[in-house]
């Protein structure tokens, strides 16, 4: 009787963890197990199919010797840098402008944000043809009488990467605006009033009082944008297909084509590991800081 009660008590206590267990086990297997598996493959000479004999760092040596990979990394640096900088600039500007008691805010804000609800494939399709010199913007402006107007970046090896920046900024800058707007709305109005009484001009108010208080918003925006930049795949595929040539290759497209079309699975796995390391460098410190709260009583 006493023992039966004890057993029931144990089951009641263990039940919550039993409920969580399947999800957690799934994550451990499908995320961390798979990461280990892929990392292992990156040290093998797997081609079409996985092989399990280790060959050391050969794949990584090959990877960093490949011109495609250095193009992909260069593109990621250009794209990532511009994407983060422009999105942050536009997002912050829009947020500050919208925070001036704009009557139409309720209409404007959703307009700035709706691209976030679209698939990158849709975005890519729209911009692909709009930027196409044969039918899009170039032709339109020429037909309006600006005969010398040229805009052929999407067909230009040097410039194509910037068209991806344009489309990506279009899609996410509204979201960054929302992050900053939430940050602005979280600032104590009394502080702003106090600064005004102290005689601060609007410009100084923003530069010295308001923007410095948006640090958490800057951090969130950076983390989100950086990790999206590293992962960007769909947009490149839809907008340029990695072309012209391989001019807009990115790590994500590189990984896919080396693994599944060029049958260099070992190298593809290596590139995926490098991508994971880049993302982890951004995300892990962020998550650590966010979750490192003191445990208070239950």
């Amino acid at each position: 009787m006493e023992y039966g009660r004890y057993l029931r008590g144990w089951a009641q206590q263990a039940l919550p963890r039993l409920v969580l267990a399947p999800s957690f086990a799934t994550i451990v297997l499908f995320v961390y197990g798979f990461i280990v598996f892929t990392a292992y493959l990156s040290f093998t000479n797997s081609r079409i199919l996985p092989k399990f004999n280790l060959i050391g760092f050969e794949n990584y040596e090959k990877l960093f010797g490949l011109r495609h990979w250095s193009t992909a990394i260069e593109n990621l640096v250009i794209f990532g840098g511009l994407y983060i900088a422009i999105c942050t600039a536009i997002g912050l500007t829009l947020a500050i402008l919208l925070d001036q008691k704009i009557r139409a805010e309720g209409v404007l804000r959703p307009l700035y944000l709706y691209p976030m609800a679209l698939s990158f494939i849709v975005t890519g399709t729209a911009w692909k043809w709009f930027l196409d010199p044969g039918i899009g913007l170039e032709q339109t402006l020429q037909s309006w009488g600006w005969a010398s107007f040229e805009f052929d970046w999407i067909k230009n090896r040097q410039m194509a990467i910037y068209t991806i920046v344009i489309a990506a900024v279009w899609q996410t800058s509204g979201f960054v605006m929302a992050i900053f707007l939430a940050g602005l709305r979280g600032i104590d109005n009394e502080i702003i009033k106090a600064a005004q009484i102290d005689g601060a001009s609007n410009l100084r108010l923003y530069a010295r009082i308001i923007i410095p208080q948006l640090r958490p918003a800057f951090l969130s925006a950076f983390v989100v944008l950086a990790h999206m930049a590293i992962k960007s795949y769909d947009l490149v595929v839809a907008l340029t297909g990695g072309g012209p040539g391989r001019a807009t290759e990115m790590p994500a497209t590189f990984m896919y084509s080396y693994t599944f079309t060029r049958n260099q699975m070992g190298i593809g796995a290596g590139s995926a590991v490098i991508m994971l390391m880049m993302i982890a460098a951004v995300i892990v410190p962020y998550l650590y800081a966010e979750l490192r709260e003191p445990r208070h009583g239950r």
Binding site: E2, R8, G9, R295, G297
Partner: protein, 358 residues
């Protein structure tokens, strides 16, 4: 209804011990108050009785059953929480009937029990409201109603009045006491407010740092605090505690404060020479003395409360408080003489903090 028995109970969170061997026996039908400063372990103890926290060591018994490993629902206790813990999406009636529904009680019976509890608490007109449509006092009553409906063995109250404003708190205090006198259900009531403890309890348990300091009836605690902690905790304004030592030589026992001021002692007490003491006297036990008797004091602040006058002054090198029933209008800086009532003097050992006089 049942007695509750707590035997040598220990509890720690992670690696910090919060309750070190507490034993209390609560009689059937008694209203017991657990009082102490925040962090003294009183709420944890209550939650252990409820079954919301594990017992690391020792035993808790309700009636004659040890309940250490029983789930809360099997213990037949009801609890009133500090924030009332009313289910926000259920009406007052549903809130009060929830536990009976879970026990698959008969619908008509639930209705009847809820109605009668609502009647007792004056909630009849509010039965179909949602918690957010109620005032603080009404929510408080619903929380009590939810406990009454169960007709449990034991009521547990976890600082139920601390979210109410001062006036309502006094009113609810009386209501809870009246309710207990009517139902005579064993009740354990946790509070950090010693006034609440004094006014409501049949017996008080004073806790500090995870241990029981003293158990007793309210006035017994007030009149004869067993140690320095209880002396300082029970009573408002608090007892004056002056560090002193026994002096020898004279025929009658005497003591001197650390600055040399002589303090009178009752004749029937024994203190050794140089024995470190704490000399305790309640504010209302200080009387104005005439023609050179008593101890000299310098007035710093006078606070008239209407019913009495509080005089804060420097005496024996220390800030003390005297409470007079009559009105006085001293000037700051004025020198007065105060005579402690020797029959109600409290003497403690400075090292152990324990009471010395009987």
């Amino acid at each position: 209804m049942a007695s509750v028995s707590i035997r040598e109970v220990h509890k720690s969170f992670d690696d910090t011990a919060v309750i070190h061997g507490v034993s209390i026996d609560i009689e059937d039908g008694e209203f017991l108050v657990l009082v102490g400063p925040s962090g003294c372990g009183k709420s944890t103890l209550l939650r252990m009785i409820a079954g919301l926290e594990d017992v690391n060591d020792g035993e808790i018994a309700i009636g004659d059953k040890v309940v250490n490993h029983m789930a809360p629902k099997a213990r037949d206790v009801a609890m009133v929480f500090q924030n009332y813990a009313l289910y926000p999406h259920m009406t007052v009636r549903q809130n009060m009937g929830f536990s009976l529904r879970l026990r698959k009680a008969d619908k008509a019976m639930i209705r009847e029990r809820v109605d009668s509890a609502a009647q007792i608490l004056g909630l009849t007109d509010l039965l179909n409201r949602l918690p957010r449509q109620l005032s603080g006092g009404e929510r408080q009553r619903v929380a009590m109603g939810r406990a009454i409906v169960r007709d449990p063995q034991v009521f547990l109250f976890d600082e139920p009045l601390s979210n109410l404003d001062a006036k309502l708190r006094v009113q609810m205090r009386t209501e809870i006491k009246a309710l207990h006198q009517r139902l005579r259900t064993t009740s354990i009531y946790v509070t950090h407010d010693q006034v609440e403890a004094m006014t409501m309890a049949e017996r008080i348990v004073v806790m500090n740092l995870g241990q029981v300091e003293q158990v007793g009836r309210p006035l017994d605690l007030y009149d004869r605090p067993a140690n320095l902690f209880v002396a300082g905790f029970i009573g408002s304004p608090a007892m004056n505690l002056i560090e002193a030592s026994g002096t020898a030589g004279s025929a009658t026992p005497a003591a001197a404060a650390d600055d040399g001021t002589a303090l009178p002692l009752p004749a029937d007490i024994r203190v050794g020479e140089g024995q470190p003491l704490v000399y305790g006297v309640r504010p209302e036990d200080l009387a104005l003395a005439t023609n050179g008797a008593g101890v000299e004091a310098t007035v710093s602040v006078v606070e008239p409360t209407g019913s009495s006058t509080l005089v804060f002054c420097q005496m024996a090198g220390q800030e003390i408080c005297a409470e007079f029933q009559e009105r006085h209008d001293f000037d700051p800086g004025e020198t007065i003489r105060l005579m402690p009532r020797l029959e109600t003097l409290h003497l403690f050992d400075r090292e152990s903090g324990q009471r010395l006089n009987a």
